[in-house]
């Protein structure tokens, strides 16, 4: 098991859990980051900026700190 920010570009993972119960954790859940869902790591912004990933066919940018809170099981 690893976290979303540790995936490689193009790699997919299945969400296991979102860390925490604060506002941002629930916003992530509302946007579809729920256990069992598949998420694809697409790329990282320049200079270690936010991570761009794809979930439910939408592209979402989350900063590294937030991406570390998304626990995933890499697929393949």
């Amino acid at each position: 098991m690893t976290t979303l920010d540790q995936l490689l570009p193009g790699q997919r993972g299945q969400i296991v859990q979102i860390d925490g119960v604060d506002g941002i954790a629930s916003r992530l859940r509302e946007m579809g980051f729920i256990p069992g869902e598949a998420v694809e790591y697409l790329r990282r912004a320049p200079l270690g900026g936010p991570v761009k990933c794809s979930i439910h066919g939408c592209r979402i940018a989350v900063r590294g700190g937030e991406a570390r809170r998304v626990l995933v099981q890499p697929i393949g």
Binding site: V21, G23, I24, A25, S26, R27, L28, R29, E30, M31, G32, I34, P35, E37, L42, R43, R44, A45, P46, L47, G48, G49, P50, K52, S54, H56, G57, C58, R59, I60, A61, V62, R63, G65, E66
Partner: protein
């Protein structure tokens, strides 16, 4: 002009209110424009600072009032924008009529995620229609949607629409009309969440009724008791808005039973947030059973291919700089023809007035005051329209979100976030919408820091000042075979002054009064799309209209005041005699030249002795170190309410001073000299004026909007103070350093 329900002649007609709601990036605004056409007015929600857009349209034989709500992901609001959407939908805003029908705009390509909000809306117990928007785009993705089945499974109307192509609009109106003609019994509230959750809600309601909260301001608990919806949200959103709302209504007495209920909920279903999201996504899955057929990749390949260039760690940054350069260069390249036309029209009006009237006070007021003042500002309309055009295109096609993604890391270095980028970018057009656009920022400290630096971005009101001075003093040297010119580079540099100053200012703010932890960042990157021409044009139209109205009112009034201050006191008899003489003799005779010279001296003396001249000389010691003469000083002081006034002021001063010639204001400025004969305007002086205008807070509208958005006077006072100090210091350094080199 307001087209309000109160203005409809037939008082018997009651207009039903229909709310348009949806996730961000679902094409909601395009759909709103397609439904309402030009019948749109903007205003404020009573008691709230958020701007509302209301459109009127007819469905069948009725007229409805269509409210465009800010985009929201959920009914648990996290930003001021989302809060208003929720308050309108739950009829919680005072003096706002209740919403009768909800139209939920859903992006057909992202059905599952969008159903999250739908499931929350269906709990409101109001007639709801789904507009399955961007329906034309799903074919190319290899997606098929069984609309009838979806509609049957949700139990509500689902209308496929393609707002940008105006498809499905009539059907959507029909579906709305159906609910208005026969409202029927209120639809049953969906029960998406586990049964045990509703049991806990029921128990909580009982405990509130049993008197635990009668200490509150309301007379009886019975009448003030929140409805089921509010009770549910209160249990779900820990520390959320519903909780605050109920405590406001019933007092702190609700807290103990609330805590007890949450405890019970936690043991019954686990963490409420987890429970809610899991249940809603599970619900969405069952409702979508057999609805979506997928034959290809779900996401758009075009977007991904474009993104591989536009968000590339190197290529993306290069494109970003190129886009910015293109905008500034285009402002020069495409605006000369319409500018010449406006210039010609102003000149024609001025000449016509002069030829019809004899020299005198009224003629001076019209030509030297009104036409020189307002006309000098209006000429910049084409450039302002172009700037707004580019910004609207960038925003509507989806590039702005990419720019925010690219610059987030850099913005965090000085304490802002990528989300601050869009408000700052729109402040390049005008700080007023820029400050209002900060409402998408959830974190208060980030939001306030953005509000404080947004006015440093060079708005379109500064553009005329730059263009005038650059046009008069910067040589039009061309580089790269004419693709890039010196004026465009200087213009870009002036924009950079504001940007580069914003960095330390934001950094200091985040280290001092707005200190706090780094706020989280989650942002959707929408699909790229061809900009909706109507949305873009309506933005340009609104901005141009606002500019013309400003020129016609504020600048007009300022021009008259400045003209009067420059005209009075003084005996203008001799001046008019000379003018009359000049107009009766041949233009190129040697005598005419003599009279012209005498006239200029007379006019200049009159201006020096006027109220304006005396004030100007009094403040001259303060502006002398900046390289300015008294005329520039007066212009800068006069333009504290609005920057464009400097143009109007200089136009009036040079007209009254008799300096204006065939070349207009720029020519008069180039020709103007100190008493010792040296030119007033040198390149360092021009730069010092531009830097002053780049940094100074000369805009009452912005300060008022900051007051409104921060709900306190201390923030606008702080903005004004720090920006004025920065402007003076910036101009001083520019002139003192610049004059060593030129």
């Amino acid at each position: 002009m307001a087209i309000g329900s109160d203005q409809v002649g037939n008082a018997a007609v009651t207009t039903a209110r229909v709310a348009l709601v949806g996730n961000p990036n679902t094409g909601k605004s395009t759909l709103f424009n397609a439904l309402a056409g030009l019948n749109v007015r903007t205003g404020n929600y009573a008691g709230v600072t958020i701007e509302k857009k209301i459109g009127r349209c007819s469905v069948g034989t009725r007229t409805i009032e269509l409210v465009d709500l800010p985009g929201t992901y959920s009914m648990a609001p996290r930003s001021p924008d989302e809060l208003v959407a929720v308050e309108v939908l739950t009829d919680d805003l005072e003096n706002e009529p209740p919403v009768e029908v909800i139209v939920c705009v859903v992006n057909a390509a992202q059905l599952q995620r969008n159903l999250f909000l739908v499931s929350q809306l269906l709990e409101l117990g109001k007639p709801t229609v789904i507009a399955l928007n961007m329906y034309d785009a799903i074919d190319s993705r290899g997606i098929t949607i069984d609309v009838d089945r979806l509609s049957a499974q949700l139990g509500i109307d689902v209308i496929p629409t393609s707002a940008s192509k105006r498809r499905g609009i009539a059907e959507l109106k029909q579906a709305i009309e159906k609910h208005l003609v026969d409202p029927g019994p209120a639809p049953a509230r969906e029960r998406t969440l586990p049964e045990s959750f509703y049991d806990v809600c029921g128990d909580f309601r009982e405990s509130l009724l049993s008197g635990a909260c009668t200490t509150g301001p309301s007379a009886t608990a019975e009448t003030a008791l929140p409805d089921d919806y509010l009770i549910q949200r209160m249990l779900l959103d820990r520390g959320g808005e519903s909780e605050r709302r109920v405590i406001r209504r019933l007092g702190g007495g609700v807290l103990p039973p609330l805590m007890a209920a949450r405890q019970k909920l936690a043991t019954a279903v686990g963490d409420p947030i987890d429970m809610e999201c899991n249940a809603r996504y599970a619900w969405a899955k069952t409702k979508l059973d057999g609805v979506i057929g997928q034959t290809g990749r779900a996401s758009s390949e075009i977007t991904d291919r474009l993104d591989s260039v536009l968000t590339h760690r190197i290529g993306g940054l290069v494109c970003f700089v190129l886009v910015m350069l293109l905008i500034f260069q285009s402002i020069y390249a495409f605006s000369s023809i319409p500018m010449d036309m406006i210039d010609g029209a102003t000149g024609f009006v001025s000449d016509s007035v002069s030829s019809m009237m004899a020299p005198g006070m009224l003629r001076s007021l019209l030509t030297d005051g009104v036409i020189a003042g307002v006309g000098g500002v209006l000429i910049f309309l084409p450039q302002i329209a172009l700037l707004f055009f580019f910004l609207a295109v960038l925003e509507d096609c989806g590039y702005m979100a990419r720019a925010a993604f690219l610059v987030d890391r850099v913005m965090t270095l000085f304490g802002l976030s990528g989300k601050s980028f869009l408000p700052m970018m729109s402040s390049f057009a005008c700080a007023v919408p820029g400050v209002m656009a900060t409402r998408v920022i959830e974190n208060r400290r980030d939001r306030f820091a953005t509000i404080m630096v947004a006015p440093l971005m060079s708005c379109s009101a500064r553009l005329p000042v730059y263009l005038l001075l650059i046009g008069a003093f910067v040589p039009a040297t061309k580089f790269l075979g004419g693709w890039l010119s010196m004026p465009a580079i200087v213009l870009m540099a002036m924009y950079m002054v504001g940007v580069l100053t914003a960095i330390p200012v934001a950094w200091i703010l985040k280290k001092t009064i707005l200190r706090g932890e780094v706020a989280p960042f989650v942002m959707e990157l929408p699909e790229y799309k061809v900009p909706a021409i109507r949305v873009v044009l309506s933005r340009v139209w609104e901005a141009s209209l606002a500019f013309v109205v400003r020129a016609g009112t504020l600048i007009f009034a300022a021009s008259i005041v400045i003209w009067f201050a420059g005209y009075w006191p003084g005996d203008h008899t001799r001046q008019y005699e000379l003018e009359t003489q000049l107009e009766t003799i041949a233009e190129d005779s040697p005598e005419a030249e003599l009279i012209q010279l005498a006239l200029q001296t007379e006019s200049a003396d009159l201006l020096e002795g006027s109220a304006l001249g005396r004030v100007g000389h009094a403040i001259e010691p303060a502006v002398r170190p900046l390289g300015w003469d008294w005329k520039i000083g007066v212009g800068a002081i006069a333009s504290f309410p609005a920057r464009e006034v400097i143009i109007a002021t200089l136009g009036t001063i040079y007209s009254l001073g008799g300096d204006a010639d065939e070349e207009g204001l720029a020519g008069a400025m180039r020709a103007s000299t100190h008493p010792d004969g040296s030119p007033v305007y040198t390149i360092p002086v021009a730069l010092s004026i531009m830097v002053f205008f780049a940094l100074c807070a000369q805009c009452v509208s912005t300060l008022l909007v900051i007051r409104r958005e921060t709900n306190s006077w201390s923030w606008p006072i702080l903005s004004f103070t720090y920006m004025t100090v920065l402007a003076y210091v910036g101009a001083l350094v520019t002139y003192q350093v610049g004059s060593r080199f030129f």
